[in-house]
């Protein structure tokens, strides 16, 4: 192995990619809702930074735009919207600990290993320098799934969903140096609309069960009255 031969810019990108993975783990174990939203914002900012680095070293103009788009959308706009909703729903001090945090993080570690095994054929293809990041991005997607499974709080689940989208974006950037700009704009718009819809859903769930704990949707309202 010869990491010394890799340019500094790409070394920085590898470090940033590993930080993205770490943030996925933190997002899963984060007890406080507001802190989890901030963590998510950091993930968006890191992915924007990675996109910028790929843009600089590959010289693709449109990647600068998508980095800017990612930063405004994932690091500023969506966290701000979530933050506002949390304040409106008066969940500022809401805490939700996982039932088995150690098991959850060990499952997440297993998912990282699984995604590494899954992308081994791609890595051996020797495409571009970012190919190692594909495993990381797949792991971020899978951990996003896991967050939606283990968390009960609706807003935390939305954070998992959004971080899954982060992983997909990272995969696109690292495997093929980004999607065409028009598709990226479409995806960005989709995510934004999803965010608005989630906001409406939060209020609806809250009105009908007086909580955002999604597990309570499994109970029949009659049986609860007994």
């Amino acid at each position: 192995m010869n990491l010394e031969l890799v340019p500094m810019l790409q070394q920085i990108m590898l470090v940033l990619a590993s930080m993205v993975l770490l943030i996925s783990f933190i997002l899963m174990d984060q007890v406080r809702l507001v802190a989890a939203i901030h963590t998510f914002a950091w993930q968006g900012a890191l992915i924007a930074a990675i996109t910028t680095i790929v843009a600089i070293s590959e010289g693709h103009m449109h990647l600068y735009f998508s980095a800017l788009l990612t930063f405004t959308l994932k690091a500023l706009l969506i966290p701000w919207m979530l933050h506002r909703q949390v304040r409106k729903l008066e969940l500022d001090h809401e805490k939700e600990a996982l039932e088995h945090p150690v098991i959850a993080s060990m499952i997440a570690v297993a998912l990282v290993i699984f995604s590494y095994w899954l992308v081994l054929p791609i890595v051996q293809q020797e495409l571009i320098f970012t190919r190692n990041v594909v495993a990381i991005s797949l792991a971020v997607v899978l951990i996003g799934f896991l967050i939606m499974v283990v968390r009960k709080q609706a807003i935390a689940q939305v954070l998992g969903f959004m971080s899954m989208e982060n992983g997909l974006f990272l995969a696109a950037v690292s495997a093929t140096s980004g999607m065409p700009l028009i598709i990226e704009l479409g995806v960005a718009f989709d995510v934004l609309v999803a965010m608005v819809l989630f906001g409406i859903f939060f209020f609806q769930i809250r009105e009908s069960i007086e909580s955002l704990d999604v597990d309570r949707l499994n109970h029949l309202s009659e049986s609860e009255k007994e």
């Binding site: 590898l14 470090v15 930080m19 993975l21 150690v102 190919r131």
Partner: protein, 317 residues
């Protein structure tokens, strides 16, 4: 040549024993300044040790021979472990014998006797402290080993001297795995040396203490040895962290100038580390004991992530 190296190892061993109280005193002093107190002088730990060595050692009636022997075993095992960590120079005969797994083993031995001694007298606090210490160390040890294996996978050695040598020969490379390993080892070091937020070394508050609870029954020279061993352990982890991750300045040959440079850089690094530790202890509050497993789980997770990022990001490049 061989004589020189052995002499150097001996000098290093003595230096370890002599520097350890100074580092503890420095951290105390910086902390006092940060908290707007006058604080004791930096050399206060030496005076404390001197005072304790001159005092009579009292024993509880229920104490067995084990209680009497434990301070010597604890101190010797810690000193032996420290002797295998490169301090001034990477030419160490002891480092060739003991790699980092042996160091972990020696530290485990000292901890084992510390816990036994805590339980020996049969007071409630001793047993409580011993059980807590075992809880912390049982969780900290795997995290430490995983972090060390991450380093070993890159440098292809578990020997600390060769590890430092590898770091010195390599040109500057950003390794995500080393960053994770550094973070994991910092958390482990905090837990193992009993600093805030895991344990508070400066109180005897009965409900929260871990290390202090175990040595509560000791007095005189026994207490002095126990405290000295704790200071040594702090210096050991400090040197391990600074010399493995930031090895600049450490001597690679036996000439006097390079040894002097090694000593100066070591002092500079330890001063800086002391300041960082003092700041973190001033701004952080102690955790509840039951939060400690989560803290050490984070350390284990960081170690695992370091290992994974080594395999995923660094090998395929």
């Amino acid at each position: 040549m061989n004589l020189q190296i052995s002499l150097l190892a001996l000098v290093q061993l003595v230096l370890y024993a002599l520097l350890a109280p100074l580092v503890a005193g420095w951290i105390h002093w910086v902390k006092a300044k940060l908290q707007n107190r006058c604080g004791a002088r930096i050399f206060q730990p030496y005076r404390d040790l001197y005072k304790l060595f001159n005092k009579e050692a009292r024993m509880a009636h229920t104490a067995s021979q084990l209680f009497r022997a434990s301070p010597y075993i604890v101190f010797t095992a810690t000193l032996l472990a420290a002797s295998a960590v490169p301090l001034l120079s990477i030419n160490l005969p002891t480092a060739a014998i003991a790699d980092i797994i042996a160091i972990a083993g020696l530290l485990a031995l000292s901890r084992f006797f510390l816990a036994l001694a805590g339980m020996d007298v049969g007071t409630a606090f001793g047993g409580m402290g011993a059980s807590r210490e075992m809880l912390v160390s049982a969780l900290a040890e795997p995290a430490m080993l995983v972090a060390v294996f991450t380093l070993a996978m890159t440098a292809h050695t578990t020997n600390l001297a060769s590890l430092v040598g590898f770091q010195l020969t390599e040109t500057f490379v950003l390794r995500p795995s080393f960053m994770f390993a550094l973070a994991a080892l910092v958390l482990v070091a905090i837990a193992e040396t009993g600093r805030i937020p895991v344990d508070n070394p400066s109180t005897h508050l009965e409900l929260t203490m871990i290390h202090e609870a175990m040595i509560l029954e000791y007095s005189g020279r026994h207490l002095a040895l126990m405290e000295w061993a704790a200071q040594l352990k702090l210096l050991l982890y400090g040197t391990l962290l600074t010399n493995v991750f930031f090895p600049w300045g450490i001597a690679q040959d036996l000439s006097l100038t390079s040894l002097a440079i090694g000593l100066l850089s070591l002092i500079a690094k330890l001063l800086l580390l002391g300041i960082i530790l003092a700041i973190s202890e001033t701004v952080l509050a102690k955790m509840r004991l039951f939060r400690t497993p989560a803290f050490l789980n984070l350390a284990l997770l960081l170690g695992l992530l370091g290992m994974l990022s080594h395999v995923i990001l660094e090998i395929g490049v």
